[in-house]
Symmetry: C2
Subunit: 391 residues, 2 copies
């Protein structure tokens, strides 16, 4: 009976809380006043410290977070506490006790949808942020159309496109769907991922037409120093750690803040190898023979824009792939397969900086060598997605 009373009270408190949150006046202006009662004093101090020119601009931005799991939930919480203007959350999953080894969700939320539970917690943390949540799988046809619509019209101002899409999903299909949408919409986005063995992860910035998209090359992952075959066992429950996911969410949102508020260097690719505390970085340009026709179209548009741009007297250095020839960090990859065995079994392994490798390789297509353009397939989005689902 005590448990029943408790559950009833909890429900009523939740209702009252929700009503109170809605009553709360949103602030007009972020205060920089240094008093204990000001939740923005330590953020506005970034201006006085010479780090950010106009911190309050954060209130004008809208960010979409796809996947509200171990990385996505912490990402959403960090952006909420930073005072982002609006967050749009997408996830079809429910909170489970099996998620409790990662930050954010609490046991009493088990059974709730992740977006519902997240919205409640985030509103409590910062009532100044606007939230929009979608409890569905973006990879089905109807939901994909709605997802595209919200990305292109969900911003705070005038139904404009969001400022950034963050991929915090845990599977290949969903990443490919986000990639397809962002290429078509010319939407800048950031990718994140954590390995199945829980001890590595990465973030990646994708500017359609300019930097490599998710279809331009096999996904880049952080090289593991453990037997690769262990990683590929089918049907094994993935491991996860709150540490690795917290670090990946932290470097992801840091990159978001640097990109939106224009400070520091925005990373194109940043990896995290937790076993050796090694953080490889790199940059990769879009592939002219990318399988995604929208990516190729964005590349054409980008080239035209670049050509039209008035030439500066001081030529900007063209960004090139950073390759560290020497093993400065003394890291050795331990694998029972040699590089030659790997290459023989599949496609060529591209030349990548120390510590970064590809998730898989693609065998050479007959008749297609580097530099050639592949045949325009002009497949419909439907056909492409049907193909993807078979992967």
């Amino acid at each position: 009976t005590e448990k029943l009373v408790f559950e009833e009270l909890k429900l009523r408190v939740r209702e009252l809380e929700n009503e109170l949150i809605k009553c709360k006046q949103k602030i007009d202006k972020m205060s920089a006043e240094v008093v204990d009662s000001n939740p923005y004093s330590r953020l506005m101090a970034l201006k006085r410290m010479g780090i950010v020119e106009d911190y309050e601009k954060i209130r004008t931005f809208t960010v979409a977070v796809v996947g509200v799991g171990g990385v996505g939930s912490v990402t959403a919480e960090m952006l909420t506490r930073c005072g982002i203007g609006k967050l749009i959350l997408f996830d079809y999953d429910k909170v489970e006790l099996a998620n409790m080894n990662r930050l954010f969700f609490q046991p009493h939320q088990a059974g709730l949808s992740k977006v519902e539970a997240a919205e409640h917690t985030l509103r409590t943390i910062n009532p100044d942020v606007q939230f929009e949540t979608h409890n569905y799988n973006i990879t089905t046809m109807d939901n994909f159309a709605h997802f595209m619509d919200r990305i292109s019209h969900g911003a705070l101002q005038d139904g404009k496109a969001v400022d950034l899409v963050l991929s915090c999903v845990d599977n290949f299909e969903a990443r490919m769907v986000i990639n397809t949408a962002c290429n078509e919409l010319s939407q800048i986005w950031m990718e994140s991922g954590v390995s199945e063995n829980a001890v590595s992860g990465h973030i990646q910035l994708i500017i359609p037409g300019e930097t490599a998209c998710f279809a331009c090359a096999p996904p880049l992952v952080v090289a593991a120093n453990i037997d690769e075959k262990t990683l590929k066992r089918e049907g094994v429950c993935a491991a996860s750690l709150p540490t690795t996911m917290g670090v990946v969410a932290g470097i992801l949102v840091q990159n978001v803040l640097k990109y939106l508020l224009k400070f520091g260097t925005v990373s194109h690719y940043l990896g995290y190898n937790a076993m050796q505390d090694f953080f490889p970085t790199m940059a990769m340009k879009a592939n002219p023979t990318c399988d995604d026709r929208h990516c190729r179209k964005q590349q054409d548009d980008y080239k035209k824009k670049e050509a039209e741009r008035p030439k500066k007297v001081v030529e900007q250095a063209v960004e090139e792939e950073v390759v560290h020839e020497e093993n400065d960090w003394g890291i050795e990859l331990v694998s029972e397969q040699t590089d030659e065995e790997l290459q023989a079994a599949s496609g060529p392994v591209p030349d990548l900086p120390e510590g970064i490798t590809v998730a898989y390789t693609i065998p050479d297509k007959t008749g297609t060598s580097e530099g050639e353009t592949v045949e325009e397939t002009e497949q419909s989005l439907e056909e492409l997605m049907a193909q993807m689902r078979k992967m």
Copy 2:
């Protein structure tokens, strides 16, 4: 009136929650079963993945966290979700709305002591963890004695010493007090810190007698690429970001897990420069002329132990300070002061890896040159602490 009803209900729910938590049976064994209702399935999977040999050993460890602020609270949450045996939390501060730009605490906890609020949240997250909290300032004489006692007798088993002390404090005096205690008790600990401009941080492992303690050398910090003079303005409210603090807590607890569960490489020093996404590492041995007499005593003990140890046929390479001579990452420190100006104004700047510098320098003592041993002062702990408080 609705607000009053709400506050009453909240209080009652809190009471009931606390009672329920106490009723809950702690688990006997961590299950590795892959079901949605098992909070440990993704952690126990680390064994199957070949990362950790015996994950369940985590339940036997006790960790003390000193400072439950932006880094300490997230550190405690990560350890709680990982299923640590026991946590001992120290903090004298109260939760304020001005803390809401960092993870963990929520607005409704404003006014509560940080340790009380943290314990409530952490117990809700994982009732299998044992908690002990101390709402006091460790730097006063009485509290310091109690702090020493809890460090040396607070472990889960038989009143033994804790397995690790984590310093998550935000000021020099508290760090020095933890250093003093750990040197005297021969207690292994880890240091963490975040810069006042919110865009860099570090963690450091200190093994008394073996690696440099906090008094062996000026504290190492991550080199900022901004005007150093900005950083040293007095009375300016420090900036902070949930991203930087989340990353520092993540790399700290990752190092704790690697140290306790014996996997990967435990870092001696790992820095984080958020402006350039650069993560410098290094290692530094204890200084034979350290000002802390307990550090020097631990060094003697360590040397004796090393000498007594049977020599292995294959000699282990002595760990040396890692110095990267080349600027592999193309990072330039931008400062309006030249290195020469800095050196002229104070003491010598030691030879450190790219990206790491000292918080301050110590002018050469007259008559004391490198290699000489300084006069044994044999000051009492009380005298030392009185001196420290004047700093």
